[in-house]
């Protein structure tokens, strides 16, 4: 009660004083002031420094006293003392300060590595955190994992080149770095070059402008293992593609391992020369698909163990149910929940989780309009919306039409007759047939499954 009183008193006084003095004077002399103590007939005002104390005491005292007396009529005296507001809140500031200077290297520095001359070549940009051990394996990535392990065991001979593709945030980079780390752990002398496609491009451009093409070639062609991440960004860069082609050939002929990742199959990368895309496909092409529910749960548990936190089963279920397509987002969700629960000082229960993930998940479930869905599907298959909803029975139109029916049924939960209406007044039995056909085929047709995933991802991304 008393603290409130002190605060209120000074707030009221400041309000009046602000009018009395000029703005500059007010902000200079009354900044960081507060009421330190109120006794029966005396008020002590806390001021940040001795200059302010002198000034208030000798110059502004009459005005301040007058204002305070209006609020506390019994007031006989006002004094000023140098004090800080924070010191008042934590009066024992010194005891805490006293104990904690013990310059231990562990405390004072983040451990940093000094590479020394006679040590093996430091691995380029590899993050030691990524290993096979902490990679969660499931049906969707078993093939990729197995080939990656084979490559790490016999670099250059098992599958060369290894081409891994999959959507955003599904663990391509993790897998590739794990290969690098595994090889380094076994044979530290190997020179591993891990670069993003962008870095390769930039290095190439820089080598031309600095006239150091020889060094560039040496750097890449001396590698025992060359790993290039996100090769699809090479699309359209003809010079870089040519240089990469030569690098690729040089390494491949010398039986050096090449690992490449991309977000789609080599053939599907636009503006990539044929000689490159055929070479990318000549080794092993492994895909990583979005994880299924059980795998997402396993990944979440893994991440929890890494972060040394425990989330209850229902929380993990909830996250796994709602975040489907991206592992990075799963991790983000955990971080978000932990931060949220720490900030609000509550245990991460299901209710808290729902709240913390509100904006991420509600976005996902937001339903896009029918028009937009038609539009996006048509775009995806390179046809027009008019054709899509037309009565034409060409093969390249029928399948997209059935897919859109399936999506409307499953993603938007529309009724069969309603779907029929949207598709140019088709009979509801036609719709039922279409939806069922896709449902049946999805189980055995991998291509269809991929198309659907990609399309759904696009629609979510649009939201």
């Amino acid at each position: 009660m008393k603290t409130l009183d002190e605060k209120e008193t000074w707030q009221a006084a400041l309000g009046e004083l602000e009018v009395v003095f000029s703005k500059a004077n007010y902000s200079t002399w009354f900044k960081d002031t507060f009421v330190l103590e109120i006794a029966e007939d005396e008020i002590t005002v806390g001021v940040p420094n001795a200059f302010t104390k002198e000034w208030l005491e000798n110059k502004y005292h009459p005005q301040i006293f007058e204002v305070l007396k209006k609020i506390h009529p019994n007031l006989k005296n006002a004094t000023y003392a140098v004090a800080t507001n924070s010191a008042r809140q934590a009066p024992k500031i010194d005891s805490a300060d006293n104990s904690d200077i013990n310059l231990k290297p562990t405390q004072s520095y983040t451990p940093t590595q000094i590479p020394v001359a006679d040590k093996p070549q430091p691995a380029f940009n590899l993050n030691a955190h990524y290993s096979f051990d902490n990679y969660v394996v499931g049906n969707s990535n078993r093939l990729a994992m197995a080939t990656a392990q084979a490559v790490a065991a016999n670099p250059g001979t098992a599958y060369n080149p290894l081409f891994i593709y999959g959507g955003v945030g599904l663990g391509k980079t993790h897998l590739v770095q794990a290969i690098g780390n595994e090889i380094i752990a076994k044979s530290p002398k190997k020179k591993i070059v891990y670069v993003s496609c962008e870095k390769f491009t930039n290095d190439f451009i820089a080598s031309i402008s600095d006239k150091k093409t020889n060094e560039f070639k040496k750097m890449y062609r001396d590698a025992d293992v060359l790993m290039v991440d996100d090769i699809q960004f090479m699309a359209g860069k003809e010079g870089t593609q040519e240089e990469f082609f030569h690098t690729f050939n040089a390494l491949h002929q010398a039986n050096r391992q090449i690992v490449i990742t991309s977000d789609r199959v080599p053939k599907a990368i636009p503006q990539l020369t044929d000689r490159l895309s055929s070479r990318f496909g000549m080794g092993m092409v492994a895909d990583i698909q979005p994880p299924n529910l059980e795998m997402r749960q396993a990944i979440l548990r893994n991440k929890c163990a890494e972060k040394q936190c425990s989330l209850t089963d229902d929380v993990i279920d909830y996250i796994a149910q709602n975040i489907e397509s991206n592992i990075r987002e799963l991790e983000g969700a955990i971080t978000r929940i932990l931060t949220y629960s720490q900030m609000n000082d509550v245990l991460p229960s299901l209710a808290i989780t729902t709240k913390a993930l509100e904006d991420i998940i509600s976005n996902k479930n937001k339903i896009i309009s029918v028009e937009k869905m038609l539009q996006m599907t048509a775009d995806f298959f390179n046809i027009t919306t008019v054709d899509l909803i037309s009565a034409k029975r060409n093969k390249e139109l029928v399948r997209p039409r059935q897919i859109v029916m399936y999506l409307m049924r499953h993603e938007m939960s529309l009724s069969y007759p309603k779907i029929g209406q949207h598709l140019n007044k088709k009979d509801h039995t036609t719709v039922i047939h279409g939806v069922e056909k896709i449902e049946k085929e999805i189980a055995r047709d991998v291509e269809l499954h991929k198309e659907l995933t990609a399309l759904k991802e696009k629609m979510h991304a649009f939201n």
């Binding site: 200079t28 000798n58 005891s95 200077i101 310059l103 290297p105």
Partner: protein, 368 residues
């Protein structure tokens, strides 16, 4: 106010106080210097509300008075004026300056608006020879913490007892301690923490000669008096950490090297250490080999071998190059002595023949 003063005295006085003028301030009068007649002399004052500084210059006072004048304009005007004597008079908040060739009117602000620079209630005064104080300031300022997250570390700790004063600073990565002998013994122990900015300013004033400086600390405030100049500053509140416990007691390796050679080797290594947070490595082998190494994954590597006297075990230890070059730049000794015990424990650097200064430096942990 009617006063005449030599240009030389005035320029010197304004130069002393001019730096303490507030720059980023909402209150216009803080940009000004207070000119005031006092006991037949002219008193110049400036403040930024953290530091306040007064200096007195000789002048012929014909009429008492006071006025505040924009510091920068006055300073520049007086510095470019090459007449011998300048007469000035104040009337209606304007300062009229007149000398043999030049005349000027400068508009000022009423002296009553100028902040009152607090008087320090003195308890115990330390009399320190200027030369050794200046030396102590340069050697301790390098170790003060620049960020204000731990306010007590953003200053230099003074601890005086009997006739010795210890000045200590640390940013929790390294620590400087300099012992200074006082001119006069004091009766009670005094401890206080002076903000680094204040001490840097004091150092600047001290380098303009003088023999002895008198330092008096009161509650919240400290005063430095040098001849005709007084500087008043706030003190940092709080308790300085108990630093003595971290000064290493055991020594397994002692190295004496020529400071200039060592400093040069470090400079060369740090060229390669920029990418790796300034990490450089010392490889010390008895009886006389000291190598300084740095490696950069992108730039290359470098090794300097210098000779020194090594006694005790050989050791490999990594340091932040900056922390080494900082101390070598101020140590002011032909040879420096390194005392090390292990590659994870604090090392000690001293001037070879001077036990009054010590520098504790933490090694960097190296992952092999």
């Amino acid at each position: 106010m009617i006063v005449s003063c030599t240009q030389e005295n005035l320029a010197k006085g304004l130069g002393l106080v001019g730096r303490s003028v507030g720059t980023r301030t909402t209150l216009p009068v803080l940009n000004n210097i207070l000119i005031k007649t006092e006991k037949g002399r002219l008193k110049l004052s400036a403040t930024d509300l953290e530091i306040g500084i007064h200096t007195w210059v000789g002048a012929k006072v014909d009429e008492e008075g006071a006025l505040t004048i924009p510091a920068k304009l006055l300073l520049d005007y007086i510095n470019t004026n090459n007449d011998k004597t300048i007469d000035f008079s104040a009337k209606d908040l304007t300062l009229h300056l007149k000398s043999e060739h030049y005349k000027a009117n400068i508009k000022g602000i009423d002296a009553a608006e100028f902040p009152l620079i607090p008087e320090v209630k003195k308890a115990e005064s330390l009399e320190i020879p200027v030369a050794s104080f200046l030396n102590a300031i340069t050697k301790t300022l390098i170790s003060t913490a620049l960020d204000e997250s731990r306010p007590v570390l953003a200053g230099v700790f003074f601890k005086a007892k009997g006739n010795t004063l210890k000045m200590v600073a640390t940013d929790s990565y390294r620590l400087s301690e300099q012992t200074v002998i006082l001119n006069k013994k004091i009766d009670n122990e005094v401890v206080f923490i002076v903000p680094q900015k204040t001490l840097a300013e004091v150092g600047r004033i001290l380098s303009n000669a003088g023999e002895v400086v008198i330092v008096s600390a009161g509650e919240n405030q400290v005063e430095f008096k040098l001849g005709e100049t007084i500087l008043v500053s706030r003190l940092i509140e709080g308790t300085f950490p108990d630093y003595e416990q971290i000064i290493p007691k055991t020594v397994k390796t002692t190295v004496v090297v020529k400071a200039s050679l060592f400093s040069n080797a470090i400079k060369m290594a740090s060229l390669f250490a920029r990418e790796s947070a300034n990490n450089i490595k010392l490889k010390i082998e008895a009886p006389d080999k000291v190598s300084v190494l740095a490696v950069s994954p992108h730039l290359g590597d470098n090794t300097s071998e210098i000779t020194g006297q090594v006694s005790g075990e050989g050791i490999e230890i990594a340091f932040n190059a900056k922390f080494l070059s900082d101390v070598l730049a101020v140590i002011n000794s032909e040879n420096v002595k390194l005392e090390l015990s292990s590659n994870l424990a604090a090392g000690l650097i001293k001037a070879e023949k001077d036990n009054n200064f010590l520098y504790v430096i933490m090694p960097l942990r190296v992952d092999e």
